[in-house]
């Protein structure tokens, strides 16, 4: 493996007593807040990592998101706690992205290098579970090769299920621009994954 693979976990399901925990956290219970944040930390980190393409920056963004969430928890107005945490994480990641973009040394990954890496992954293992893991690794590797504007739009909309208005406001872009980035990003992903087509059989 040319670069360390992230430790993947399945998508985090809501906690059984989540509503009560959220109510306690909103009322100022630090223990309840810590439990919620701990539960969703890999959801938040996954989003930050896919937005930023960088493990260290993603950990910083997730840490910032926890602090922002703690400051904002008394203004929490219902809805899924996971979505709320993810929006805060996306904002924190964008703050870090903008700061990084002001430094000119930040180099984009070389797409050709990445394509070679993608081809190296080989054939899927026989079991369904392993094949799914293989598919996800291909998918993340391909996402990393997208131009940043397409990647962030696809990550927010298709990976994390945000609606296009939310994506537009998070990325400070027009709605039409967001849609076009998402479409172009998906089409580029499909090209990049052409050799793994059998993994994405409908």
């Amino acid at each position: 493996m040319p670069e360390p693979q992230p430790a993947a976990t399945r998508r985090t399901a809501p906690l059984p007593d989540e509503e009560a925990l959220v109510a306690r956290a909103v009322a100022g219970d630090r223990g309840a807040f810590a439990r919620l944040v701990e539960h969703y930390q890999s959801a938040c980190y996954g989003l930050a990592w896919r937005l930023l393409n960088d493990a260290e920056m993603a950990a910083d963004a997730t840490q910032d998101a926890f602090v922002h969430a703690f400051d904002a928890i008394d203004r929490y107005r219902g809805g899924a706690f996971r979505s709320w945490m993810l929006r805060i994480t996306a904002n924190a990641a964008y703050d870090i992205l903008r700061r990084a973009q002001r430094r000119p040394t930040q180099a984009l990954p070389d797409p050709a290098e990445g394509e070679a890496e993608l081809a190296d992954h080989g054939l899927p293992a026989p079991s369904d579970e392993a094949a799914r893991g293989e598919m996800y690794r291909h998918l993340d590797a391909a996402l990393r090769l997208l131009p940043e504007d397409q990647r962030t739009a696809v990550v927010l909309a298709d990976v994390y299920g945000m609606d296009y208005h939310q994506v537009a406001s998070l990325t400070s872009s027009a709605l039409g621009t967001v849609k076009s980035r998402i479409h172009r990003g998906r089409l580029r992903l499909r090209e990049l994954l052409a050799e793994q087509r059998e993994l994405f059989r409908p």
């Binding site: 993947a8 990592w49 950990a59 926890f66 849609k179 089409l187």
Partner: protein, 201 residues
């Protein structure tokens, strides 16, 4: 946006169709083309499968432990806010004592100078006013103490003035002490608030 049946629609339209965008699903020409074109139907199917796969991408464990909570408020902070809370009551108590003591001192000075007769009535008047004023403005428990003390002393003084001149030497000592204690409290409160606490915070 017109679709020539012999020409493939733009791929972005196929992506919109793959996600069920109502504007694309209402486009009859687009639907008709996809239904009759293997290439475009395959693209739509693959894009839909891609979306399904994207929406199932797993969460990722952070590479290092993250702090779940900001640091808890330190005990020192608690003491500071306790001291901060003491400021207003201490200042109020000090002001009340100082005013009571000042008025009392002034009164006993007058009664000391006047041998007897009309003076007691004049002295009793400010002492009663003082009781009314402090009764109206007692904000906190320690202000209460000061108020009670001030009034007791004031009525004591007034009663003694009304009775006999021999009590005058006692008042001459008590009222300045009350005045002094009030001034010390006021000064202490101000020092605490503006000299000690800013550095502690």
């Amino acid at each position: 946006m017109m679709h020539d049946p012999n020409r493939h629609p733009d791929d972005e339209r196929l992506s919109a169709l793959a996600e069920g965008d109502p504007e694309a699903t209402a486009d009859r020409a687009l639907i008709a083309h996809v239904a009759s074109c293997d290439r475009c139907r395959r693209t739509v199917d693959e894009l839909a499968a891609l979306r399904t796969a994207l929406s199932a991408l797993p969460d990722v464990t952070p590479p290092r432990p993250l702090r779940l909570l900001p640091p808890a408020p330190e005990p020192g902070r608690g003491r500071t806010s306790l001291l901060r809370g003491l400021f207003a009551p201490t200042l109020a108590a000090g002001v009340l004592l100082a005013v009571a003591g000042g008025v009392g001192s002034f009164g006993s000075l007058l009664s000391g100078m006047a041998a007897s007769g009309a003076a007691p009535a004049e002295v009793a008047q400010p002492a009663t006013d003082q009781g009314a004023v402090s009764g109206g403005g007692q904000p906190a428990p320690s202000g209460y103490d000061a108020y009670d003390g001030g009034r007791n002393l004031a009525t004591d003084g007034g009663a003694k003035h009304g009775q006999t001149p021999p009590s005058a030497p006692v008042n001459v000592v008590v009222w300045p002490v009350v005045l002094g204690a009030g001034l010390v409290l006021v000064a202490g409160a101000l020092v605490l608030r503006y000299a000690v606490l800013p550095r502690a915070g």
